[in-house]
Symmetry: C2
Subunit: 305 residues, 2 copies
């Protein structure tokens, strides 16, 4: 049986790790603010698929106390990824697979630079989930997890992880790495930033012709950047229409950056904006509107918080 | 002596018309909400160069009551320019010069289409002025007026108007038409929209590296569009640096669109954004960031008012 370490037990780590723990898997949770509370009262997950409570789970306040794990799910906000260099080694044995269930472009490349021999995968969570209180996660909708290998050699473990998730009731699949990351960015980049910049929600952005047009333009910049940066299969422009159509039928929803903004938490600007822009520049592609959004978000974070 | 009609007696019309009236010129003011008040109490102008009060001025509530004038100063918000077709004819004799002291691109061309034989000039006001109450104008800084002929034939009257303004203490000059309009847009387009979109002031935008960069990028889009659309003398990229440097030494200041936004008045989006974008498209120039700002402003006006 695979053992799992969960770094960051919030909306994402709490839900996916919680589902594994409920299903009887060997899961070890790293907590920060909530450690004392969860140690005493357990973890409560209100899920659209049925609420559940987890008592007596393995919780840790310090990564140095955690056991070596076969799989580490990194579910931190990416603004804290600089801490992985210190935290991760405690959990690694020779074949540990690290899955970054985070948003953005370039995350795996950066981790690979710090740990050149580490098997790494991207985790792409299509989920509406939030942390609503101490040790309390609210899972409102969706939940599919895509696990995409960043470097060769982890395929077998990934297959086992997908089997584990499937067993415990989480839809999980594998996919090509760069294509998955850029396709996710096609949604993330417009909706995260624009809901913050205009202090609004996804449905209002798409109910207005001007912002629907702008969302599509931002998506096309991401698609063209991703294709130039080298995805396994080129993303067609029509993918923007698919994303817009599928968002229109979603429940009105605040993306994670909007929740961060509403709660005055640092926004994940670097990996969601600055880094994709940088990767596009490396292949001589300009992202004028995404860059404008980046500038505005950095102003908002610095001057409006 | 030239006679003047002032259409729209607010921050701009009240100040420039008021200066002419104080100087003994023959001025006729069209008022809307303030008519009864100003008829009874006169017009109060608090100016950085000395306050003054005007009693017994010629005021009108209806353009149909106004006399024919030698010069008409149009000082309406451009969102009301559709009314000029009905209002202007009452004031026109065979040689009346109409000066549009308004912000934007394409204003004179549109008026020319409605009145093909009318001498038209652009009026470019470099001024900080606001309407602070009924019949009450506050002039905080600057005041230079540039009058640029849109069509040939008005040069002599323009020279007389400049002499009149100079006589009454308003700095006035003439300049090339397209160059003047586009140069003004270089300042107006970034600062009007960005102070609204980020709900901030010019000085804060320039105190932040990200938004200073963005302001410069927006200015460069306007410069390149203007040059492609055909200004009399190409505007160099360095003009953006000049505008930024001169704005940095200005008093923190809310541009007119920000004042409109703060007071939930319609914003002048068409002539400040949509029309320059359209003119640029006609000469195959794209303005991606200006277009993004246009989309955001239209969303704000529709959804946030």
């Amino acid at each position: 049986m695979l053992s799992y370490g969960v770094i960051g037990t919030g909306a994402i780590g709490g839900y996916y790790g919680g589902m594994l723990a409920r299903g009887g898997k060997d899961v070890h949770f790293l907590l920060h603010h909530d450690y004392e509370y969860v140690k005493a009262h357990g973890l409560q997950i209100d899920s659209v698929n049925g609420n559940f409570h987890l008592d007596g789970i393995n919780v840790y306040a310090d990564s140095a106390e955690m056991p070596k794990c076969d799989v580490v799910l990194v579910c931190l906000k990416t603004v804290n990824n600089f801490r992985l260099a210190e935290m991760l080694p405690h959990l690694l044995h020779e074949h540990t697979l690290v899955i970054l269930i985070q948003n953005g472009i370039g995350l795996e490349a950066d981790l690979h630079e710090t740990f050149p021999n580490l098997p790494i995968a991207a985790g792409l969570a299509f989920i509406c989930s939030g942390k609503v209180g101490l040790g309390h996660i609210s899972h409102q909708d969706y939940g599919k997890l895509t696990i995409a290998p960043f470097c060769a050699g982890a395929d077998e473990v990934i297959a086992d992880v997908i089997r584990d998730f499937t067993e415990v009731g989480v839809e999980a699949v594998t996919a090509c790495y760069a294509e998955s990351r850029w396709k996710k960015a096609v949604w993330n980049i417009p909706f995260n930033g624009m809901t913050v910049a205009l202090d609004t929600t996804t449905n209002l952005l798409l109910a207005n012709n001007d912002t629907e047009h702008l969302i599509r333009e931002l998506m096309l910049e991401v698609i063209h950047a991703g294709n130039a940066a080298g995805v396994e299969h080129p993303i067609p422009d029509s993918f923007a229409d698919v994303m817009i159509a599928s968002t229109k039928v979603m429940t009105p929803y605040s993306p994670s950056m909007k929740l961060d903004y509403d709660n005055r938490r640092p926004m994940e600007i670097y990996y969601l904006y600055s880094r994709p822009i940088l990767e596009a520049h490396k292949v001589n592609v300009d992202m004028p509107k995404v860059s404008m959004l980046e500038n505005m978000l950095k102003f908002i974070q610095k001057e409006k918080y």
